[in-house]
Amino acid sequence: MITSLINWLDNRTGIRDLMHEALYERVPGGARWRYVWGSTLVFTFAIQVITGFALWMSYSPSTQTAWESVYYIQNEMLWGWVLRGIHHFTAQAMIVLLALHLMQVVIDGAYKAPREVNFWLGLVLFKITLGLSLTGYLLPWDQKGYWATKVATSIAGSTPVVGSQLQLIAVGGPDYGNHTLTRFFALHAGILPALLVGFLVLHIAVFRRHGIHPANPLHKPDEMFWPDQVLKDAIACFAVLATILFLVWRSHGAELGAPSDPTEPYSAARPEWYFLFLFQLLKYFPGESKVIATHYIPGAIGLFMVLMPFVGNWKLGHRFNVVFTLALVAGAGYLTWQAIDADNKNEHFAHAVHDAEVKGERVQELIELRGSIPPEGAVTLLRGDSLTQGPVLFARHCGVCHAYSSKEFPVACTSEPSAPDLGEFGTRAWTRGILTEFASAKYFGSTTKAHGDKFTDGEMAGWVKDAKSKIKPEELEALIEFMASQSQHASEQPPSFEKESQGKKLFATGSDNFGACFDCHTLKIKNDPDLAEESAGNTGPDLTGYGSKAWLKEFISNPGHKRFYKEKNGMPAFAGRLPEREIDMIVEWMTRSWPRAATPENGQAEKQGGH
């Protein structure tokens, strides 16, 4: 029954002869493991096509949707992380397999006549695969891919004569943007794969014309492609797949850095590992000479490889080719190791890599808190994130006078500090410091250079000096607890009510050991018998909600306001100098109240409003 079906099919298509032709190729000298690399390359390419098609169904190549669609694939689509991971690691595997295949062909002399054309077809396939890797690297539109590809297109731009036009065509315009993505995607998903299939068909057809080039003398009796070589091929492909799947499992898929941002410095830019040798080579050719490393040396090597079949016609020539190829691989390997080693020893780089990881994780956290990504794209999330931008803005605008000494997020003062160190502002430690060491260098002692003894010999300094020897420890603690109730600092425990009430009393009326704070400082508490009204003296800043977001925002906006330092003020007013949005981010960062997920420790989730 089945036989007659196959007969019917064979009569219409000639399938029996086709199968015979395909499967029963004679392998002189027997099937060998060293012949498997070509098949593994076909296999890995097939994996890329399958996974590529699936990714194509979910990927969107525009500056506002590329990273976002990859994020969706990675985190929301069923097995999306596996799909992406396989695609990523198979690309790496292809490079390794290409090197192995090339080495085997050269060492075994299978590039020599009559196989010269096939060798050249193979070189073309090599270049196409590298092109696929390069174009694919940009598509997630993350910081890593963006900056690395920028280098590559700049190199294209430095090509003699046609460089600038070449760069415009590659980038799709004067600057990276939507058209860069659409062009790279067309290359990656359409043009290059089509070329690869075309050249692969030619490569296999021409290979079958000449057959395997066996070692001389033959190792064993001849065998057949099917099943002897096919079995070795299948096992080799299986091993390659197992390796890829292991890597995918171990790293939970391919990485996705923070969304690309041309305005955000990115010191961790590196190409993929298989281009690191070129990256390293470039270091030896600074300035104008860089074109030697980018164009002339690779060009010369490429040209020599094209000529290898002719050189190989002589016995010495073949030996030279083998040595050349092995030296090439060894040289590239050595340069790669050098690059990795230099990076490992580079603290700056390690810092930049860590910073990039932190940002990559933070943007994912922000998306999870929001539940989705805004239409303007994920990059706007990091730009509006107080945790990310706080230290940057502080350094830029406040760091001229203030240091910010904190364990987690230290920001150094850009010059000699001329104002208090704000690292612990709003915490109990800060209050303790103000009340016990007001004139020390960490607090207002730093102001002497710019403001003389205005603060260090002022009324507050005087109060602190007097109270220091007389104030009782429990009175100090109570005052601190009361001030903690004003700031309600996000990183601290709420105050104990008993101590807070005690502190309130002491604030309002003082004790035998010190004058009341209320004599100089207003602290309005509605309907309170002592603190409902303004202070009689009112010479110091209003401490209502001192250390809270609202207080800090008003203060930064206008520290010279009659509510705060009045004529004594020494700090610029930032309302009008900074957009309100930036002041908000500084304030949110300084008060440690940036959006974060609820954890057992903090017990609260401060979700950013969704829409």
């Binding site: 029963y24 929301e76 999306g80 096919v230 299948a234 239409p375």
Partner: protein, 191 residues
């Protein structure tokens, strides 16, 4: 040098069992190879079928599915179209509240409102209201509906214009905005 293809296995007869085992193993290994990437790819293909995805996709919010449309004062006895504004999710993007559809609202009494879908239950075109004829008319295939949504005898539409649950809360009109499958005589909600 060229032309090696011999159709006969070398050395005469190959022991059939050895060849069979090798062939079987080749098929086994080779057959397993495409499975992981294909399975991973199928995940993406079938992703839209997942209930969790269907739930997250589309219109967001609205208290218990009810969306505030307009003030009761803006509604007249004559049906008029009002835009439904809501936030929605589209794959990775969460859009802030914006227009996502429309409904016809008409006062049936001083305090009660009738709400009808704008989409024709025949094949989904947007239905017009004809003030002179005091009825709804679909421009695509000429279905006619009276002011309360009932279809006329000769309308190609299999059912009446879909009514939506509608409430007045504190002078505001709330509508349970949803869509129904175009075509059948039965009113079946989509998704």
């Amino acid at each position: 040098m060229s032309k090696p293809n011999a159709s006969v296995p070398p050395g005469g007869e190959t022991p059939p069992r050895r060849g069979f085992v090798k062939g079987f193993l080749s098929i086994l290994f080779g057959g397993l190879l495409p499975v992981p990437p294909i399975v991973a790819g199928l995940g993406s293909l079938f992703n839209p079928l997942r209930p969790s995805v269907q739930k997250k996709q589309g219109i967001v919010g609205g208290d218990d599915g009810m969306f505030a449309i307009t003030n009761l004062d803006s509604v007249t006895a004559e049906p008029r179209q009002f835009t439904v504004v809501a936030a929605r999710n589209d794959a990775w993007t969460g859009y802030p509240p914006g227009p996502i559809g429309a409904v016809y609202l008409q006062k049936t009494s001083d305090t009660e409102v009738r709400c009808l879908q704008v989409e024709c239950p025949h094949l989904g075109c947007a239905v017009d209201y004809d003030t002179s004829k005091k009825g709804f008319h679909c421009p695509c295939h000429d279905s006619d509906f009276s002011v309360d949504g009932k279809r006329s005898e000769k309308s190609p539409s299999a059912r009446d214009l879909d009514s939506l649950v509608c409430e007045v809360r504190d002078g505001q009109v709330f509508v349970k905005f949803q869509k129904f499958v175009a075509g059948p005589a039965e009113k079946i909600p989509t998704a």
